[in-house]
């Protein structure tokens, strides 16, 4: 890496000051602009959609009567028109009394504790979809990338066609095709169709990363391995790919960050990922500004920690 020209001493701090000033000015501008529109900011509503402290409701499973044990720690519901009974323990707050008549789905009590709110649950699904898609994208990309550098014309052309089609069409359109066409034909759940669409999309980019990684390994490596009697596959597996992997890691990590962001598009299917959760929270709070800023911050949290990790990885590989 070429040494950057050093800006030294007080001048450097000056420029940091300029940076801070511009950020503050932008923030102030944003604040001013939001004051001009008729909008009531209700940030206080938001935390409960990220982490809910309300606890979990215990609801009556059927119409029946409530009874408590002598120590009051066990609650029993006895079915009114039948023989069913149900016991509950470990609740914090009781909302019914001894002998009360309750109807199905009435809240009897609340379990204590902190629960993830809808936004955090959405974040979880986003992570789950991204991670799962990544695994399949890596496999697909490895196969297609090897196809790109293969001598066999069928493998070459197949891989090239796949990459060109995927890279030449919008992801949103691909998602619709996976959801409405492939998902219907193969009877896939929305989740499976979403993972498949993202994996197929990202796999095309991974294939190019794999191809570039392999082509970056000097030709002499393959020749040396072949001259020792190793097959092409053995040479790939033991000599070329391990070296290509080092070059591939940084761009692969970047592709994973893209994948996380791209996954927001699966919210058009019936999947409550972070983006869809944001939409749902907006419709129940009527606080779109706060919600979308929070959703953006949560995405940034994911991608930011990932790029931090990548930077560390790159530094470690550079030293090796």
């Amino acid at each position: 890496m070429a040494a950057e020209p050093q800006v030294s001493g007080w001048r450097r701090w000056c420029w940091h000051g300029v940076y801070a000033l511009i950020i503050v000015a932008l923030g102030a501008g944003l604040y001013g602009a939001s004051r001009r529109v008729d909008y009531t900011w209700r940030w206080d509503r938001l935390p409960q959609y990220i982490v809910s402290t309300e606890g979990e409701d215990i609801r009556a499973p059927f119409d029946g009567f409530v009874a408590f044990s002598a120590d009051g720690k066990t609650l029993t519901v006895t079915e009114m028109k039948g023989a069913g009974t149900e016991r509950y323990t470990g609740f914090a707050q009781v909302l019914v009394g001894q002998g009360d008549l309750v109807f199905q789905n009435d809240v009897l009590a609340r379990k204590p504790g902190i629960r993830p709110g809808p936004l955090l649950v959405g974040l979880g699904l986003t992570l789950e979809i991204s991670a799962l898609s990544l695994v399949f994208a890596l496999l697909l990309g490895l196969v297609a990338g090897l196809g790109r550098v293969a001598h066999n014309p069928a493998a070459r052309n197949l891989a090239a066609t796949y990459v060109e089609i995927i890279r030449g069409t919008p992801l949103l359109v691909q998602i619709f095709i996976f959801y409405f066409f492939i998902g219907t034909v193969l009877q896939l759940s929305a989740f499976a169709a979403g993972v498949a669409a993202l994996a197929v999309f990202t796999g095309a980019y991974v294939a190019e990363i794999v191809r570039a990684g392999i082509e970056g390994v000097p030709r002499g490596q393959m020749e040396a391995a072949r001259s020792l009697g190793m097959s092409t596959a053995q040479a790939m597996r033991h000599v070329v790919l391990p070296q290509a992997l080092r070059r591939m890691l940084p761009p692969l990590a970047g592709q994973f960050i893209n994948l996380i962001k791209d996954s927001s598009l699966v919210s058009v299917m019936a999947l409550t990922d972070l983006t869809k959760a944001g939409r749902e929270v907006v419709s129940s709070t009527f606080s779109p500004f706060e919600v979308w800023f929070s959703v953006a911050a949560l995405y940034l949290l994911l991608t930011g920690s990932l790029s931090l990790l990548v930077r560390r990885l790159e530094r470690r590989l550079a030293h090796d």
């Binding site: 040396a224 072949r226 001259s227 009697g229 190793m230 391990p242 080092r246």
Partner: protein, 247 residues
Amino acid sequence: MTEPLIELRGVGKSYANGTQALKGVSLTVARGEVVCIVGPSGSGKSTLLRTLNALEGIDQGRVVVDGIDVHARGTDLNRLRTHVGMVFQQFNLFPHMTALQNVMLAPQRVLKLSVNEARQRAEALLAKVGLLAKADTRPAQLSGGQQQRVAIARALAMQPSIMLFDEPTSALDPEMVGEVLDVMQTLAREGMTMCVVTHEMGFARAVAHRVVFMDGGEAVYDDAPPAFFAAPRNERLRAFLGQVLKN
């Protein structure tokens, strides 16, 4: 020293871009013979060597190595290559492995030796090239001369009957040339069949049984060292030797 181990008959080779690198080369190398190949840059020396283990294909002629018709359809090239070791100008060691792992890899994967067998063999060979102490060192931490000695050990680990060297000392600093040539001389004395492309005329004179002069894709002149260097009857060779031996 009569059984031919390598036999080329009228070998011609053109690259995809039209360059005619070999124009009907015929050459025989007997078992135990050391043949040095000299000639100006671009004369086809590397190409010739690489047709012997099928790193390059040929358009005309026939190459028979150790009784195997190298370029015939259906030849098991992987098996052929286990008989033919090759040492490259740029060493081409595997940078992600230690010296020991470099030497162990092919015996383990190709010959299916156990880890212990492969390690014993590799350690013996590293000792032979004087680098047992560097067994756990990565190539990047070795000098050029040391890397080339590891590369020789790596090729020997397959117990080949023929060793090919393509300018093994051309990428080395002058003070490291000697250590590599010493290892090669030891090999020659042990009776290894060797084809060596080199500019080291001193080595050719001292070690080779025969020296072949290549020019413009042809094997122009082929003789035992004293005659080759003393009284070449070929004009192009005279010019070449005059240039090389001047410095």
